[in-house]
C-alpha cells in the first residue's frame, strides 16, 4: 500500500499542486474512502469507497479491501457525487456575448444538419474552468440556428484538445420548432431574435410564414428520406450530399432530434412532427411542458428543461410558474434533465446546481433534482452506460464536496474527470487572489 503524503491529505491538496494543464494519462489507480457516496443509482453509502483505474470506476461499496499499491485518499466528512451534466448549453461556442468574433453559435441558412458543435469549441475558453468550479464535469453544447442548427456535442470539461474533450460529438441534432411569431411575442419570449425569420407582422402573415416553414421542414425530411433510399439502392447518378447524409442517423432513429420549443402549441407541433416523420425527439427548453404532460408521457419523450430561474412566460402566470415545472414533470413520470441554454450572465452554466435547487424549493424531491443534473442527463443523451452515476464500469467523473452541491454555500473540494483530478483554479480565482493582496 502506498500512502503517499500527497494523497493521504484531503483531496483539496490535489488542486494546490497541480498546474492549470489538463491531466495526463497514466495508470493512476486510486481509492477514495471514508466518504458518503451519493451514487444516484441506489441508496447513499455512508463511509463508502470508490476505486478508480484508468479513468473508470472499478469498485464501489462499503467495506472494500484496499487493493495493492494504490494511492488512498481520505474522504472522511466529505460527500461524493457524480459530476454534474448541463444537458443544453453554449459553453465553448461563445466567449463574450457582445463581441461577434468570439461567437460560433449560429450558421447562416435554415438547414445545417451537417454542422457539429465540437468543431467550434474552444478548449481554451475561460468558461470551461469557470463552469467546472461549480461541479459541472460534462456539458451538451448546442449550435443555434434558424430551423436545424447542427449537432449537439456532449463533452467533458477537460482535455488538451477537442478530441480529448469529446464524449459524443453527434449526440443529437438541434432543431427549432417554427413559431407563429406575432408582434406581441416578438423578442419577448425566449426564442428572442434568434427565432425563425418571422419579423414584425400581423397574425395572418405570421401564420403564413409558419406554414411555409413547416412545409419546408417536412420537405427537408422527405428529401433526406429519398436521399437515403437512393443511397441504399446505389442509384447510378447518386451524388453525396453532406446535409442530407447527416440526416440519416436521425431518420433511422439512431440519433435523437433535440427540438427547442417554448409555448404549448410548439410542444404539440413537435410531438405531431415526430409522429409524422417517425423520429425520436427530445424536447428542449419547453417552459410550458406542464400543459402537455399527458402527451409527453404517452410518447415517452424526454425533456431538457430550460432555466428555472427565469420569468414566467405570461403576465398572468403564477409567480412561481417556472419554478414548479420540474415537480410537475416528475409527478407525471417524465424523464427530464436541466439545461442552462444560454451562456450569458445569470443563465450561465456554472449556476446549473442553483437552477436545480430552485425546483427543490418549489416541490421537486431533492433526489430527483440531483438525478436531473446527473443520471437523467446522461440517459437522455444516450451515455447512461458511461456516466451519470457512481457505478462500476463508468467514467470516474466525481465531485467531492463539503456539503450539498445544490446549495451555493457548499464548496467543491475536488473534481475528477475520467479519474483525473481537475484543476479548480480559473482566471476569476486568480484575479481574486491577485487583487485581494493588492497593497
Amino acid at each position: 500500500m502506498n500512502h503517499s503524503k500527497l494523497f493521504a491529505a484531503l483531496p483539496l491538496a490535489f488542486a494546490c499542486v497541480l498546474s492549470a494543464a489538463p491531466a495526463v494519462a497514466a495508470d493512476d489507480t486510486f481509492m477514495l474512502r471514508g466518504a458518503t457516496l451519493h451514487t444516484m443509482s441506489g441508496a447513499d453509502i455512508e463511509n463508502g469507497s470508490v476505486i478508480v483505474r484508468n479513468g473508470k470506476i472499478i469498485g464501489v461499496g462499503k467495506n472494500l479491501a484496499v487493493p495493492k499499491d494504490v494511492k488512498v485518499i481520505d474522504g472522511k466528512g466529505l460527500q461524493v457525487y457524480p459530476g454534474m451534466i448541463d444537458a443544453a448549453t453554449e459553453v465553448g461556442l461563445i466567449e463574450i456575448n457582445s463581441v461577434r468574433e468570439t461567437q460560433d453559435l449560429s450558421e447562416l441558412g435554415k438547414f445545417n444538419p451537417q454542422l457539429v458543435a465540437l468543431t467550434a469549441v474552444n478548449p481554451s475558453s475561460e468558461h470551461i474552468p469557470v463552469t467546472r468550479f461549480s461541479g459541472v464535469t460534462t456539458v451538451a453544447s448546442m449550435p443555434e440556428g434558424q430551423l436545424i442548427g447542427g449537432h449537439v456535442s456532449l463533452m467533458h470539461l477537460d482535455g488538451w484538445t477537442t478530441d480529448e474533450m469529446g464524449v459524443k460529438p453527434r449526440a443529437g441534432l438541434h432543431m427549432r420548432m417554427p413559431v407563429i411569431q406575432t408582434p406581441r411575442n416578438f423578442g419577448l419570449d425566449s426564442t428572442g431574435g434568434d427565432g425563425p425569420a418571422a419579423a414584425r407582422s400581423s397574425f395572418t402573415e405570421a401564420k403564413r410564414n409558419f406554414d411555409k416553414e413547416m412545409a419546408e421542414l417536412n420537405e427537408f425530411f422527405e428529401s433526406a428520406r429519398r436521399y437515403k433510399q437512393a443511397k441504399e439502392a446505389k442509384l447510378p447518378n447518386f451524388k453525396p450530399d453532406l446535409k442530407l447524409e447527416a440526416m440519416i442517423p436521425v431518420l433511422e432513429g439512431k440519433e435523437p432530434l433535440m427540438v427547442t420549443v417554448v409555448k404549448e402549441r410548439e410542444i404539440r407541433d413537435a410531438i405531431a412532427f415526430s409522429d409524422k416523420q417517425k423520429v425520436k425527439i427530445i424536447l428542449c427548453d419547453a417552459p410550458e411542458a406542464f400543459k402537455v404532460t399527458k402527451e409527453i408521457k404517452e410518447h415517452n419523450i424526454p425533456v431538457i428543461l430550460g432555466p428555472m430561474l427565469s420569468l414566467p412566460l405570461n403576465e398572468d402566470d403564477a409567480y412561481d410558474r417556472s419554478y414548479t415545472t420540474p415537480a410537475d414533470l416528475q409527478k407525471a413520470g417524465i424523464l427530464f434533465s436541466l439545461g442552462t441554454l444560454e451562456g450569458k450572465a445569470n443563465l450561465a452554466s456554472r449556476n446549473l446546481p442553483f437552477q436545480a435547487a430552485q425546483a427543490v424549493a418549489f416541490g421537486l424531491p431533492h433526489e430527483d433534482a440531483m438525478k436531473a443534473v446527473t443520471k437523467n442527463a446522461a440517459e437522455i443523451w444516450g451515455v447512461g452506460d458511461v456516466m451519470g452515476t457512481i457505478e462500476e464500469g463508468k467514467w470516474a467523473d466525481l465531485m467531492i464536496t463539503d456539503g450539498d452541491p445544490l446549495d451555493a454555500r457548499t464548496q467543491i473540494k475536488q473534481l475528477f474527470i475520467k479519474g483525473k483530478p481537475v484543476d479548480l483554479s480559473n482566471k476569476q480565482k486568480d484575479l481574486y487572489e491577485k487583487y485581494l493582496n493588492r497593497p
Binding site: 466567449e95 463574450i96 456575448n97 457582445s98 463581441v99 475561460e126 468558461h127 469557470v130 407563429i180 406575432t182 406581441r184 411575442n185 397574425f203 409555448k263 404549448e264 402549441r265 430561474l309 427565469s310 420569468l311 414566467p312 405570461n314 403576465e315 398572468d316 403564477a318 409567480y319 412561481d320 451562456g343 450569458k344 450572465a345 445569470n346 450561465a348 456554472r350 449556476n351 446546481p353 442553483f354 435547487a357 430552485q358 427543490v360 424549493a361 418549489f362 431533492h366 445544490l406 446549495d407 451555493a408 454555500r409 457548499t410 464548496q411 476569476q428 480565482k429 484575479l431 481574486y432 487583487y435 485581494l436 493588492r438
Partner: protein, 456 residues
C-alpha cells in the same frame, strides 16, 4: 390582443390589492422563529409588528390585544430585501437622444401595475431604487420605491428618501457614438464615442452647473439682503446637477472598468461632490482602496460576466474583496428576473470569497439601506424601524428555502398560501373574460378574435 393582455394584468393585480384596503392593520406577532436581525445578531424568539413599525424583538414578546399570532417554528425572519438598482415599474428607461438627460426623471413614469412588482415582492424585495438607463454619460433622475403592490404611483415612492441621478461610464454611453454596430446609424452619431469623451461630457456639464449655481446663489443673496432681484431662468437640465453639488441629490454611476471608476472619482473630487454609489462596478475589486477612500458605495452583481467586453474581468469575488477592503457594498439585480432571488445571489458570496452569512445578508439589506440613506427606516430588524419583514420556510441563504410572507409598513403584501388559493379563482375569471371576448356564433363578435386564442 392588447385588450386581452390588459385584462389579465388587472386580474393578477386584484388578488392582492383587495387586502390592501384595510385602513389599519392588526398587530402581527411571529413567535418561535429564528430572527435574523442583521445588525444585532440572531434571536430565537418573537417579533412584533405594530402600527407599521417593528415594536419588539426578543425571546418572549407578549401579544397585544387583537394581534394576529403566527407560529414561526422552524421558520426564519429577516428584513425586507433592498435592491439598489432596478428598472421595474419604469415605463421608459432611456432618454438616449442626448448625452446629458438630467432634465428627465423616472419618478414621472412609474407604472404601479407592473406585474414585476408583485413578482419581486414574492422574492422578498420590499424596497427598490428605480434608475434611468445607462445610455447617457449623465442620465435621468432616479427614485426610491417600496413595493406597495395595489397602491398608486405616488404611494410607491419611499417618502423622504434622497433623490438621485444616474450617471453611466464605459461601453453604454459611448455606444451611440460608434459608427458601426448596435445603437446608432452612422449619420446620427452622438458625442461621446470614447471613455475620454465620457469624462469630457461630465466635466462640461458640471462647468455649466457651477456657473448656474453662481447665478442662483447671487440671486438668493440679493433676496436675503432684501434687494429687488430678477429670478434667473430656471434650467431643468442643470438644476439636478446643482443639487448634486449641494449634496442634495445622490449620484448612482453605472461603471465597469477600473480606469473609468477612477476617472469619475477624480472628476467628483475636482468639482467637490461625492459619488454615492458605483453601480455594477465589476472591476471595483481592482480599485477598492480608492473607492473606500472617496467614500463611495458599491452595488454589484453576484456573478455576472462575459456578456460584454468590459465585463471580461468581472469576478464573483468582487463583493467579498470590496467588503474586506472597507467599501460599503450591496448586491443589486438590474433585472426583473434576478430581482426575484437576490437572497440566493447573496449566498454566492459565501461560496466566492467566504463572507459570513450575516455579511452576505447585509449586502441585500442594511448596506443598500445605508447607500440610499434610508437605514434609519429599513434594512434591519430593530425596534422603531419600518415593519418591512420577510418570513421564510428555511434559512434565506439556503437555495432550498422560499419566502412565505412579506410585510411592508406592517401590512401584509404577499402571502404564499393566499397566492396559491387565489389561482383557481383567477383561472375561472380569465376563462369568463375570454369567452366574453370570443366571437358570437354566426356574428363578427368580439375584437379579440383576430389574434386567436390564449396560446399565442
Amino acid at each position: 390582443m392588447n385588450r386581452f393582455g390588459t385584462s389579465c394584468f388587472l386580474l393578477a393585480a386584484s388578488v392582492c390589492a383587495a387586502s390592501a384596503q384595510t385602513a389599519k392593520d392588526a398587530p402581527v406577532l411571529i413567535q418561535n422563529a429564528t430572527i435574523l436581525t442583521i445588525t444585532n445578531g440572531t434571536v430565537k424568539g418573537s417579533i412584533l409588528l405594530q402600527n407599521g413599525k417593528i415594536a419588539a424583538v426578543g425571546e418572549k414578546v407578549l401579544a397585544p390585544p387583537g394581534a394576529k399570532v403566527i407560529d414561526g417554528a422552524g421558520k426564519f425572519v429577516m428584513p425586507g430585501i433592498i435592491d439598489c438598482h432596478s428598472h421595474i415599474m419604469a415605463e421608459a428607461i432611456n432618454e438616449g437622444t442626448v448625452s446629458v438627460s438630467s432634465m428627465v426623471g423616472i419618478d414621472d413614469v412609474l407604472n404601479p401595475e407592473d406585474i414585476a412588482i408583485y413578482r419581486a415582492l414574492a422574492g422578498g424585495v420590499t424596497t427598490a431604487n428605480i434608475l434611468h438607463g445607462s445610455a447617457n454619460s449623465i442620465g435621468g433622475k432616479t427614485v426610491v420605491t417600496k413595493m406597495r403592490w395595489g397602491k398608486d404611483a405616488e404611494e410607491m415612492k419611499f417618502e423622504g428618501a434622497m433623490p438621485g441621478i444616474k450617471f453611466a461610464l464605459g461601453e453604454n454611453p459611448k455606444r451611440a457614438g460608434a459608427s458601426v454596430g448596435f445603437g446608432a446609424a452612422p449619420a446620427n452619431l452622438r458625442y461621446p464615442a470614447t471613455r475620454m469623451g465620457v469624462e469630457d461630457v461630465i466635466r462640461e456639464a458640471f462647468n455649466d452647473a457651477k456657473a448656474y449655481k453662481v447665478t442662483l446663489d447671487e440671486y438668493k443673496a440679493k433676496l436675503a439682503k432684501g434687494e429687488n432681484a430678477i429670478p434667473p431662468r430656471r434650467d431643468l437640465k442643470l438644476e439636478p446637477l446643482v443639487e448634486v453639488l449641494e449634496g442634495k441629490r445622490y449620484v448612482h454611476a453605472h461603471c465597469y472598468r477600473q480606469d473609468e471608476i477612477l476617472m469619475l472619482l477624480h472628476v467628483a473630487d475636482d468639482y467637490g461632490f461625492k459619488v454615492r454609489t458605483l453601480q455594477h462596478v465589476l472591476e471595483g475589486y481592482k480599485v477598492a482602496k480608492e473607492i473606500a477612500a472617496h467614500g463611495a458605495g458599491a452595488s454589484t452583481f453576484a456573478d455576472w460576466w462575459a456578456y460584454k467586453m468590459e465585463a471580461q474581468d468581472a469576478i464573483p469575488y468582487n463583493a467579498a474583496i470590496m467588503v474586506r477592503k472597507g467599501v460599503l457594498t450591496s448586491l443589486n439585480s438590474d433585472d426583473a428576473e434576478l430581482m426575484r432571488h437576490l437572497d440566493k445571489e447573496a449566498a454566492k458570496t459565501v461560496k466566492y470569497g467566504g463572507l459570513s452569512e450575516t455579511e452576505a445578508l447585509s449586502l441585500i439589506t442594511i448596506n443598500p439601506a445605508k447607500q440610499l440613506s434610508i437605514d434609519k427606516r429599513v434594512g434591519s430588524l430593530e425596534v422603531g424601524k419600518d415593519a418591512d419583514v420577510l418570513l421564510y420556510d428555511g434559512h434565506p441563504l439556503s437555495n432550498f428555502s422560499k419566502v412565505e410572507k412579506v410585510w411592508i409598513d406592517g401590512h401584509e403584501y404577499f402571502d404564499r398560501d393566499q397566492d396559491q388559493e387565489g389561482r383557481s379563482k383567477k383561472q375561472i375569471e380569465k376563462k369568463a373574460l375570454i369567452e366574453k371576448a370570443a366571437p358570437a356564433p354566426g356574428g363578427r363578435g368580439g375584437q379579440a378574435s383576430v389574434t386567436g386564442g390564449p396560446n399565442q
